[in-house]
């Protein structure tokens, strides 16, 4: 009667961390992409977009893996719906990152020099949000081994709060950018539209990252 070992299904938590790691790999790509936009390197942008596309595809595979390993017969320490919505939000982060890469290849952009620092600051902030989220997710996997209990849980909750705070900061940065490019004189309308699309993708990443953080908070606080 060797069935005790079969009682333990594959835990979704390690896969979840893998997923976040892959998503962060996508988000990290927006830094070189932004730099190439500034430098006007159209060929390099194509390559980077290919790179993004491949990474996003790999993230999709990981997402499917998690969903596949989450049958209803599994009894989990967290709400199943929280895991599913966690995965969905992460997926949207990657989608927005890919959008950013795609938009960058539409047309060679001439971004005025005085807008560049603000734009780069927004890019940096968004990458930082994703970095923080990865940190939180790695903690979560460890926390699951400690049954979501103890001072360490408090620390993770504080980190999640920080993710939310950084999202707010990225919002402020994007508003500043918007004011800048809408009020600038001598910018082509098409440049403004593309800048708007780029910024929208960036804030989208941060928004979804915040939602992932809130999801994680729900998982920790109660089942």
């Amino acid at each position: 009667m060797q069935s005790i070992n079969q009682l333990f299904g594959e835990s979704p938590f390690t896969h979840m961390v893998d997923h976040v790691r892959k998503i962060h790999q996508c988000v990290k790509l927006i830094r070189p992409i932004a730099a190439s936009i500034m430098a006007g390197e159209t060929d390099k942008l194509r390559l980077l977009q290919d790179d993004m596309s491949r990474t996003e595809y790999e993230a999709d595979l990981l997402k499917d893996e998690i969903r596949k390993n989450l049958p209803r017969r599994f009894f989990l320490p967290v709400n199943r719906d929280d895991i599913l919505s966690f995965v969905r939000q992460l997926d949207r982060m990657a989608d927005d990152a890919e959008d950013f890469a795609v938009v960058s290849t539409f047309r060679k952009l001439d971004i005025p020099a005085d807008l560049q620092p603000d734009f780069m600051a927004l890019v940096d902030k968004v990458v930082q949000v994703s970095e923080m989220l990865l940190d939180v997710a790695e903690d979560l996997a460890r926390l699951q081994k400690e049954s979501f209990e103890g001072p360490e849980a408090e620390q993770v909750l504080a980190k999640i709060q920080q993710v939310c705070h950084m999202e707010w900061e990225s919002d402020k940065l994007s508003r500043r950018c918007a004011r800048h490019y809408y009020s600038a004189t001598g910018l082509e309308a098409v440049t403004i539209i593309l800048l708007e699309k780029l910024c929208k993708a960036l804030t989208g990443i941060a928004d979804h990252a915040e939602n992932v953080g809130k999801n994680l908070r729900l998982m920790i606080i109660r089942r």
Partner: protein
């Protein structure tokens, strides 16, 4: 002549059952400890052998009495002891065959359920509905529901307490120096109490009733206090500083040591309850052959010894393979979780053994694992497996009953 044939056949069939228990069931009792890395495979084998034997030898008689005397009524067979002997033999063979078939098909079947179904089957075939003591059988069936629930509740409470008291505090390592000796003492108490309460009457036949229980409680308490104090003294100088993560690691490591004891406790309880599945019917055959079937005599010591030996041989010849397979796949069970599940299971099974209730250790262990799961202890528990275990239990009773009834008819015509 017939008597000798009966005796040899019964011993052979009983040995085969005991071998089966050692080969297939012990692995579950030790799997969680081996899986968590608390004990090495080699240690597990030695401890399992010693404590399975001790449990079987010291506490095994209660459940054996139940199996030979409380399912079918022996008094009905008072003037035809050979019928009873044939039936018990048929039951043993049927349970053994059913177990082998189920193992071959990869189904999780319990020896307890098999033998009880088989005894009922023979009773129904031989003397009809009246031969089975349904009220006692009802109590046993009820215990099959109650015991996993008890295991679950106890495991939940223990793990929840460890979480709240040790893991949640700012100084997990310091808290562990108190909680660990308590766990150790509790284990010592139950194990020694049950061992003594059974062994003493054999050494000192005059000791009975409350005096016996008082002595056993005293023996248990003395061991528990000594054990607890030693555990405390041993752990008092342990490092208590370090980051939280280091402290958690330390706590798990020390619970791992405690798990050596609870694994032995599991084996003890398992031996105490399950040996009866093999030797209960053998003892019944022996009584029938002596002609004192109705008198509820104690199970002879040598039969208990024989059953314990059968389990150990099963473990040594085949069980080690199963144990390696079960243990290597359980990595989810950290020592705190393993301790909670094992302590809850072993205590439930041991108490059931003292009351004489034949229950399935695996059932209780599954319940206990679920209990830890309710305290958010595991990444994912496959409820599909729980359902399968439950289903195979429902199927086992009628199947082994049918098989035993058939074998009884065959044996009766052969031996007549």
């Amino acid at each position: 002549m017939t008597e000798q044939v009966f005796l040899i056949l019964a011993l052979a069939a009983g040995f085969y059952m005991a071998w089966n228990i050692g080969a297939n069931d012990v692995a579950n009792a030790f799997g969680t400890s081996v899986g968590s890395g608390a004990i090495t495979f080699r240690q597990a084998l030695v401890f399992a052998a010693i404590f399975e034997f001790a449990g079987a030898f010291l506490v095994g008689s209660h459940v054996s009495d139940t199996i030979k005397g409380n399912i079918v009524s022996p008094t009905i067979f008072a003037d035809q002891p050979l019928v009873y002997a044939t039936g018990m033999l048929a039951a043993l063979l049927a349970a053994g065959i059913w177990l082998n078939l189920a193992t071959y098909l990869g189904q999780p079947v319990s020896t307890t359920h098999s033998i009880i179904g088989a005894v009922i089957g023979f009773g129904l075939m031989a003397e009809g509905l009246d031969s089975v003591q349904w009220h006692k059988m009802g109590r046993i069936a009820a215990s099959w529901f109650v015991s996993p629930l008890t295991g679950a509740l106890m495991a939940f409470l223990i793990y929840y307490t460890i979480r709240k008291v040790v893991l949640r505090s700012d100084h997990p390592a310091r808290r562990a120096t108190i909680v660990l000796p308590v766990g150790f003492a509790a284990t010592c108490f139950v194990m020694f109490f049950s061992g003594v309460v059974d062994l003493l009457p054999r050494l000192l036949p005059n000791l009975k009733g409350s005096a016996l229980h008082a002595t056993a409680v005293a023996a248990g308490l003395v061991t528990a206090l000594t054990g607890g104090w030693v555990a405390w003294w041993y752990g008092r100088t342990a490092t208590m500083a370090g980051t939280l993560e280091e402290q958690y690691h330390l706590v798990e490591q020390r619970f791992g040591r405690l798990q050596i004891i609870t694994a032995c406790y599991m084996a003890f309880a398992h031996g105490a309850n399950d040996v009866a599945n093999a030797i209960g019917p053998v003892a019944g055959v022996l009584e029938a052959l002596k002609g004192n079937i109705a008198a509820k005599t104690a199970v002879p010591t040598w039969v208990l010894f024989f059953g314990g030996l059968g389990i150990v041989i099963g473990l040594a010849t085949y069980g080690y393979k199963v144990m390696a397979a079960v243990g290597s796949k359980i990595t989810e069970v950290t020592p705190t979780r393993g301790f909670s599940a094992e302590f809850a299971t072993a205590t439930t099974v041991l108490v059931a053994s003292l009351i004489g209730l034949p229950i399935s250790t695996t059932f209780v262990l599954v319940g206990a694992v679920m209990g830890v799961g309710f305290a958010r202890g595991f990444g994912a528990i496959d409820l599909g497996v729980v359902k399968r275990i439950f289903l195979s239990w429902v199927v086992t009773i009628p199947c082994s009953a049918l098989l035993s009834a058939l074998l009884y008819v065959v044996l009766r015509s052969l031996l007549a």
